[in-house]
Structure formats: structure tokens, C-alpha cells
Amino acid sequence: MAVPLGAAALLAGAERYLGRIGRDITALAAATATAVLAAIALNDSTHRPIVYWFGDWLPERGTVIGVDYVVDPMGGGLALLAALLSFGALVYSQRFFSGTGGRYPALVLVFLGASIDFAWTGDLFNLFVAFELVAVVGFILTGYYASEEAPLQGAINFAVTNTVGGLILLMAVTILYGRTGTLNLAQMGQQLAGHRPDGLVAVALAMLGAGFLVKAAVVPWHFWLPDAYGTAPAPTCVMFAGVLSELGLFGLARVWETVFSGVVTGPAEQHIRLVFGALGILTALVGTVMAMVESYGRRILGFVVVAHMGLYLLGFAVLRTVSLGGVALLAAGDGFTKAALFLAVGVLRRRRNETGGRPLRGSGGRVGVAVGVVAFGALALADLPPFASSVGKDIVVSGAGSAAALIEVIFVITSVGTGGAILASAARVWRGDSSGENSPAEEQAESGGTPVAVLLLVPAVLLLACGLALGLLPDIAGRAVRAAAMFSDRRNYVASVIDGRMASAGPRLKAPGVSITSLLGDGAEAVGAVAFAALLLSAKRLQGALGAATVLLRKLHSGHVADQVTWSLAGLATLAGLLGVAFR
């Protein structure tokens, strides 16, 4: 974490003294070094979590006094993902922002450092600070074209809703401190475990949930996301789509497993599972429908992100270790794919801006590559084997037990719907039917060099390849499941933080085997996505019907910040009410 932050300070402070080349080299070297360090940490934590106490303030007779980092495979993997994505974003932004100086790379690196802090910290307040740091850098990155209206609106919506989320989160942190007298996650869980959950715990869980779910963009806290993702610069979207939303869910999962899993048991746990599962299904469906009726490429991708967050939440809500591993794998694979999609769409947009919205067909091999990335990415999101998403989805379903059929159905609807929506939109642009509107300021900011530079395409292709390679790694399913087992093993987490050793060997879980039927099913989903895209394109009446059916839903997404805050608060109240009932 110190590496990216230090390099960011260097970049921002010494901007004038480093040349352009020096800046690029510093930024890329910092991202690479972080990726290597994260990979080492990930490797070292395979068997037991690494616990590090800042300033050597070790726990004294079972009482935590210091602040610690706990690196387990899940957090390590997230850090590695963030580092790789920021590398891609930095390479892309070399050409994207000519003449922005060292500030943009510096912001990307701060974002990276804060994400890693979030993934590794073992302290609830530190978690909140990292959450806010990620958010603040996110606002700045979104509003980078500060002279344009749409990104400004995206940044304001993002900033206001996420600040409200942060305030709610901070209140929850304070309430939990008041109850347990500690900010350390492990000790907090130890203090709460074994007591009957009461109203205060319900309120704290609801507020934590609402705070994190604002960031994870789960319905009804999701309204800011399409506004922000639809307007932010493409390299920013890479970081957002792959890391930012996942961080929200990661935070919720981390706090749930370490703090609440000991106190909320039995029927209450079942009810909470229902609440989160219902939220996940709602989010997946709303995201899918909105992706189908939306016509602008990047907003479609924004809603695709929303739909996927719904799927992850649904997988998490199963609250079974195996499914959690599947969710992690799914999130990582989709993260790479979505990042590649955002970059490729960014390339296409540049091209369209330059040619004034002419059809892209026949405009050269490099544009073809970008379109190919979009098409392949859409298929990967529709669970085309052997991408990582396909493996992850199969694990989630196999761990779901009695709910497997329902979850499979939701997954199929979402993957086919979102994949089809992306493909249809890409095909429309390829043929040149939709009218694009140029934005002069952005065009100016992005202008530079040859029409489609190879450097812009390389990261998109590489990130897509990462998603593919992740699915092909030997025993990736087993690794993911073992990582999840360690992540959700509260006893051993507490023991390794407070006593400095594992209490017992963790449960040995076997990854579900890959069956031919599930592979065929995933392949069928990809085919279904193509068929659905063709349907969307050919049947104009279907589009009209979809549009008419969703007038109300689309009106809700008008980007009005006051509405968004109202929905957030209503969501918080509902969640608190539901959890209150669940705890009875």
C-alpha cells in the first residue's frame, strides 16, 4: 500500500521535475511493483492469514490495542486484481489524456492504495477511512472533464449519495464501538459472539449494510452508478467496474463474517439470508431490464455492472462457503472482462467522435479488434466457457443447495439479457444506426496521435486475456473455495489476530467437479445471448414494447440527485425494519 501512495505523492509533488517519460515510468513501475508485492502476499497467505501489527502494538492478554492488517487469500486476490487493473488503466491513459500532467496517474495510484488498504485492514474504522478515501478519489476521477456537464452531474450524484452512505456507515461504526469497546474486527466479533442479537445489533447491521450497499450499487441504492460510470473517462471506469463496486460487497462480507456471524445464528440468519437474497434478485432483474432498454454504450455497461452486483449479492446471500468462493471467482473474472469492455467502448467512442458517427464497418483492422473485444467480452459475461465467469457461476450454483434451481434461473436471465444487450448495441454501432452526439470538450481532451493507437487496444486485449487465463488456471475452483473457507472461518480469524496462531486447521473443502452438463449449459447461455441480441435488433415491436413497459422504471433513473438520496434513506429504513423483524 505504501508503494502506490508514495509514488502518487512523488508524481503530484515532483510533477514539474519529471519529464513526461519519467512520469509514465514512475507510474507504471509503481503499479507493477504493487502487483508483484500483492502476488507475493497472496502466495504467502495461502495456508494461514498474514497478520501485521503497525508499530508492533501486539495484543496484550487477549486485548487488542494496535491496528492490524490481515491478509488472507481473498483480500490478497482483490489487491492483485486492483493492481492489475490500475496497470491497464495507466497504460490506456498514456494516450488518452495527453497533457494532463502527473495528476491523473497519481489519482489512479491513490485509488489503488486505498483499495488495498480496504481489502487488508483488520480494523473497522480503518475500513471506513479507506472506504471514504476510495470514494473521494472516485469523485475526482469521475469529474475529470470538469468543464463538461454530464461528467459533472455524474460526479455530483456519486459524491452526494456516497457521502450519505459514508455517514451512515460511520454511525454504524460508532454504535458498534459503543457496544463492544473496540474497533478491531476480530475482537468485536469475539465480544458479540454468543449473545442474543438485540435491537442495537440489528440497527448496526442495517446501517453497515446500507452504507456498503450504496457503494456496491444494490437496488435501491444504485441510482448513482449509471450516471457516474456512464460519464467517467474510460480508464477510470476500468478501476470502477473491476474494483469499486466489488469493494462494497467485500466490506459487507468481511464485516459479516468477522463480526456478525457469531451473534446472528439460527432462524435469524435464515431470515437475513432471505432479505439479502431478495435484494440481490431485485438488483439483478432491474439492472438487466435497464440494460436492455438503454441505448448508450457506457450506460448499458453501467447497468450491466448493477445486474452483476445483484448476482454477487445473491451468491453471498446463500451464506455458504463454497458459493462465496464462486462469487469471488466470478467477480474477478467479470472484473477483467468488464474492464476490457469499458476500454474497448472508449476506443470505439473516440473513433465515432472523429468520424462523426459513421458506421464502423470497414474502417480498418484496429477498430475491428476493438469490436471483437466487445463481442467476446459480452459472450464471456454470458458465461461462455472456459472464461473465469463460467467456472465461478458453476461453483455458486453447486454450493446453493436447495435454492440452486432459483439461482440458476436468475443467473441465466441476467447473463443472457445483459450479454444480448451489449451485443445488440455493438451491432447497432457497427452498422451505424444509432445517432451519436459529439461532445467537443471531451473530444478535445482525448485528441492525440493516430486515430486508434495500438497502445489503446493493448490493455483491452490483455485484460480480456487475463479473464480467460484465470478460468484456465489449474485448480482455480479449488483455490477459490479454499480462499473462501479461510475468509469465512471466524474462529481461526480471531485466533490468528489475537493469539497469533491458528486455532485449528480450517475445514477441508473440496471444489465441486466440473461436469459436462454445466459446461454445455454455460455454452447454451452464450448462444442464447447471441440469439437474444438478434431478436432485439430485428424485432422493432419488441423494443417498443420493452420501452413502453419500462417508462416508470426509466423515469426513476433520470439522474435527479434528490431522488437518489430519498431512495437511499427509504432503503435504509426498509432494511432496518426487515432486519428488526428478522431478529425477532
Binding site: E132, V136, V160, V164, L167, V173, R298, R349
Partner: protein, 118 residues
């Protein structure tokens, strides 16, 4: 007494949120957001308060022994104030840009995300 203190928190938070939802001016919205933020500060200080406690300056304890209020909570509220200042500054900067661009500070004049190029 303590019920009154906690109601102040709820009141500050809700009135601030009401302001955010109803403001027709971005600067007013930012101010309302900081009103809500101060609710969290008050809550933090209330949780850390010890009745009859003195300030947590531990070198003075030999002269005036007795309980002190919780120092951790004071540190938290300081951090929170810093974060709040950063967010407000950023939002105000965005508001200036909005004013430059559209000549208005009404958040409703900004609904342009639907007219984006692909």
C-alpha cells in the same frame, strides 16, 4: 438527559438529509450535507463521553487523577472532520464548475446524462 442528547443526533441527521433532498441550490446542498455530517460527530463524542471525565491528557493525570473521556473517539471525530472538509471542498469545486458551465446552481438544470454520445 442522554435520550435528549441522542435525539439531537437524529434531529441533525434528518434535518440535514431533508435539506439535501429539497435544496434547489448546490451550495445549499453541500451545507446541508455538512449539517448531517455534524450529527455523526456529535454521536461519536457522545459515545466517548464519560460522566465527570476530564480531557484525555495523560501527563496531567498525576495532578488531577480521575476518569478521562475516551481519547479514541476524539481521534475518530477529528478524522471525520477532515474527511468532511475534503468532501465539502470537492463538491463546492464541482458547484463552481457547474455554475461556469450552465450559469445556474440548480441541480435540476443538470440533467444531461441522457444525451450522451455512445
Amino acid at each position: 438527559m442522554s435520550i435528549l442528547a441522542y435525539s439531537v443526533v437524529a434531529w441533525l441527521f434528518l434535518i440535514g438529509m431533508y435539506g439535501v433532498v429539497t435544496s434547489r441550490n448546490l451550495i445549499a446542498m453541500v451545507i446541508c450535507l455538512s449539517v448531517s455530517q455534524s450529527a455523526t460527530d456529535v454521536l461519536i463524542l457522545e459515545i466517548g463521553y464519560v460522566h465527570g471525565g476530564s480531557a484525555p491528557v495523560f501527563v496531567d493525570l498525576t495532578r488531577r487523577p480521575g476518569p478521562t473521556v475516551d481519547a479514541i473517539m476524539q481521534a475518530l471525530s477529528l478524522t471525520d472532520v477532515v474527511l468532511g472538509a475534503a468532501v465539502s471542498a470537492l463538491l463546492l469545486a464541482l458547484a463552481i464548475q457547474v455554475e461556469k458551465r450552465t450559469g445556474s446552481l440548480d441541480p435540476d438544470d443538470l440533467r444531461t446524462t441522457h444525451r450522451l454520445p455512445w
